[in-house]
């Protein structure tokens, strides 16, 4: 469970110095990096193939492989026009944001509180309770659907955004608590104690000492949860009312019940992929740093 927190080098090296250090300590040769690039390309080809497919006329997709475009380029944007022309696409795009943003923020807030208690307050049964929270990741979401929905119906909340947010919060909490707790424990006890000696209460310790140090961990969980909620279909299908359908749900209905519009699948997949890709690429940095600190010293 343990990783090291020491990521940053103590002093910023100049580029030249850095390169010198790199070449001395690097584990691999230039030849190896060429191999690595080849692997990376191999990893990317399937996606690239689908991207090309999404721009090809339906009849061509059925008859020839996407690589033939290099010999015989023939592109169309009709697939995208059809996907974007489906009613509700614009609405569902906004719905996706409205579902995702609170579903990312709320578990972070609740998990911060819980993780703080697990990491910095000694109480009886702490380890047992923590193990219990961690262990509940086992429960597959599917088994929770009927019990949760029955409850929501009784409360008169069914089909609203509230139940979707609540459900995503519940499903995200164990991982959030786990990640944030591991990170919080990494913060040297002396820092906290010094603050408390100065008379700071839990609240000041929390906001002034811990929170600034926690930004990478929060960001890494946020990316995880964002990808998961944005890409989710199951929770949305069961809990969101039809007028609050996210983009995944609209994309899923594109091809029609007899599959007569199957050629829209590729374009539809890319339309729903755009946002998570942008989010991921722009937050990638934090993600790495947050995960890195996801444990104690080994």
């Amino acid at each position: 469970m343990s990783l090291d927190t020491r990521v940053e080098t103590p002093r910023k090296l100049t580029r030249k110095e850095q390169r010198a250090v790199d070449s001395k300590t690097r584990l691999s040769s230039p030849a190896a990096s060429i191999i690595a690039v080849l692997i990376a390309i191999f990893w990317t080809v399937p996606t690239a193939g689908l991207l090309i497919t999404s721009f090809r006329p339906a009849a061509d997709v059925r008859r020839t492989g996407w690589w033939t475009v290099f010999v015989d380029p023939e592109f169309t944007t009709k697939n995208y026009v059809d996907v974007l022309g489906t009613s509700n696409v614009a609405d569902s795009f906004f719905n996706s944001f409205i579902i995702t943003i609170p579903a990312v923020l709320i578990p972070i807030m609740l998990a911060l509180l819980a993780a703080y208690a697990f990491a910095w307050i000694d109480f009886r049964g702490r380890n047992a309770l923590f193990a219990f929270v961690f262990a509940l990741q086992v429960v597959p979401i599917q088994v929770t659907l009927i019990p949760l929905l029955s409850q929501y119906v009784q409360w008169g909340l069914d089909g609203t955004f509230w139940t979707v947010w609540l459900s995503h919060t519940i499903f995200g909490l164990p991982l959030a608590i786990f990640l944030l707790h591991n990170f919080m424990k990494e913060i040297p006890r002396s820092l906290i104690e010094a603050a408390r000696v100065d008379g700071a209460g839990h609240v000041r310790v929390f906001f002034q000492v811990l929170l600034p140090l926690l930004v990478p961990a929060i960001a890494s969980f946020a990316i995880f949860q964002f990808l998961w909620v944005w890409n989710d279909l199951l929770v949305a299908l069961v809990f969101a009312g039809p007028e609050y359908s996210p983009i995944t749900r609209v994309i899923a209905t594109l091809s029609g019940s007899f599959g007569s519009r199957w050629y829209l699948l590729a374009a539809g997949a890319f339309v729903s992929m755009v946002v998570p890709m942008v989010v991921f690429l722009s937050l990638q940095r934090y993600f790495v740093r947050g995960l890195l600190a996801g444990g104690v010293k080994g």
Binding site: T76, V89, A90, P242, A252, T253, G256, G259, S260
Partner: protein
């Protein structure tokens, strides 16, 4: 050249988005139904007066029909009801309908009305959720008894009580073919099973290279993979063993692994598991298991395959620009029986059940069983692909020749109609082991006996 095309496409995309935004701003509330009720409206609404004044009432409906283009005809078909009674119908479609409906019923937020695609599912819902499915009202009963063959009332009944009214029908005993290809080779439409086999052999002999085969088939359908193969077995059961044995097989008075059933599966195998006959344009026998049923008939358009057995609704899958009709690019003939004077017909249909005991819900269900709805639905489906077995449906409103033909077959007194057997069996079989075992029968080469044994074993105890 391709660049110009992309550029033009982008402009279209941009303007489409603009339009979409405009529509989102201006759309919203539908025009209120005429307060200026003219004499014309009164006359139009005469048939609706039994439903009463339902102004301000809302009925929710849930179906498996989700995509825009397919849902619109349904939504439009409710308009006369909305206009004449003042009620509002809220439509919701989901591709995961069959998984979601039981969840919603159990959790207590069932829709008011749902389109149930199989009587077997209706049985399960009624028996598992005591009191949640509401019996049809008097008006609905009257409509079904007046306008439908008694058999259809039977399909919508469970344990002697009538719950669901029919809202659509299809005929499954069709073989699609290309009239032009048949004419070019001088082939004629077979009228008996043996003629059809002789024709298949002739096609094999005429195409020694094996690139062109008599049959093409595909049973892949995501989570429902295998169902097209069960249709084959049902059609053959009906032909080889007759309707009485068919009924016994469906209600499990004879075992699923009865020798008669095994023989029927074997007979299906003479086509579906015959590498000489299948799978035209798609490969060998096993490709049937991985070919999507939506694409399985398309090799006919390429001339790689001559015949494809699939229901009337397959007309929607031929694609744009393909003319369906006796003089068109593709057309369908009746899957022949063992001899020409029998005419068993396999078909299917959907049913509307209600889950709320409110007058407006019962009135709406009754409307769905009325000729007004069937005709409104036909009007709202300008591209065809829908029909019902309502006796007062105006056949001239059906635009597609296949729909017309299907309606004629359904109302032909000589035809012996039987409902899709797997749709009537308990879902553990009809939507489970039957599909799965038929898939294994094709994909893994399991024997007909093993397949029948496994299905029999999975039949739930009473």
């Amino acid at each position: 050249m391709s660049q110009a095309r992309i550029a033009r496409g982008l402009v279209v995309a941009a303007s489409a988005t603009a339009l979409l935004t405009l529509a989102a701003c201006s759309g919203g509330t539908p025009a209120p139904s005429g307060s200026a009720s003219s004499a014309a409206t009164d006359e139009k609404c005469a048939a609706f007066k039994d439903y009463g004044d339902l102004t301000g009432k809302t009925v929710t409906i849930f179906t498996s029909i989700a995509s825009d283009s397919e849902a619109k005809p349904h939504i439009d078909s409710y308009k006369p009801f909305e206009e004449c009674t003042g009620a509002t119908i809220k439509y919701e479609g989901s591709r995961d309908f069959e998984a979601q409906l039981p969840v919603r019923i159990k959790a207590g937020n069932a829709p008011d009305v749902a389109y149930i695609p199989q009587p077997g599912l209706l049985q399960t819902l009624v028996r598992d959720n005591a009191g949640k499915v509401i019996e049809a009202g008097d008006l609905a009963v009257k409509n079904v008894e007046t306008y439908y063959d008694p058999a259809w009332k039977g399909y919508g009944s469970v344990d002697g009580k009538f719950y669901a009214v029919p809202v659509g029908a299809n005929v499954k005993s069709f073989v699609w073919y290309s009239p032009k290809m048949f004419a070019d080779k001088g082939y004629t439409i077979p009228t008996t099973w043996d003629e059809m086999i002789a024709l298949s052999d002739k096609i094999v002999a005429d195409n020694p290279s094996g690139d062109v085969k008599p049959w093409c088939a595909g049973i892949e359908s995501g989570g429902a993979t295998g169902w097209p193969a069960t249709d084959w077995i049902e059609d053959i059961m009906l032909r080889v063993n007759g309707p009485e044995v068919y009924d016994q097989w469906v209600d499990h008075s004879i075992a699923f692994n009865d020798p008669k059933v095994v023989a029927a599966i074997d007979k299906a195998g003479t086509i579906l598991r015959n590498d000489k006959y299948v799978n035209g344009g798609l490969g060998g026998v096993k490709t049937i298991a991985t070919t999507s049923f939506t694409e399985a008939g398309l090799p006919i358009l390429d001339g790689a395959c001559y015949m494809h057995r699939q229901a009337s609704f397959y007309q929607a899958n031929w694609g744009e620009g393909v003319k369906v009709g006796e003089d068109g690019d593709v057309w369908a003939f009746y899957l022949p029986s063992i001899n020409a004077d029998q005419k068993p017909v396999l078909g299917g249909g959907e049913f509307a059940a209600i889950f709320a005991d409110r007058p407006e819900v019962k009135a709406f269900q009754a409307y769905l069983a009325s000729p007004e709805w069937s005709n409104a639905k036909a009007d709202a489906t300008p591209n065809g692909g829908w029909l019902s077995a309502n006796k007062k449906l105006d056949i001239n409103k059906l635009v597609q020749p296949v729909d017309k033909l299907s309606y004629q077959i359904l109302s032909d007194p000589k035809a012996v109609f039987r409902f899709d057997g797997s749709d009537l069996m308990p879902s553990a079989v009809g939507a489970g082991s039957f599909w799965k075992q038929m898939t294994d029968w094709i994909a893994l080469g399991k024997s007909s006996q093993d397949v029948a044994d496994a299905i029999e074993k999975s039949w739930p105890a009473k």
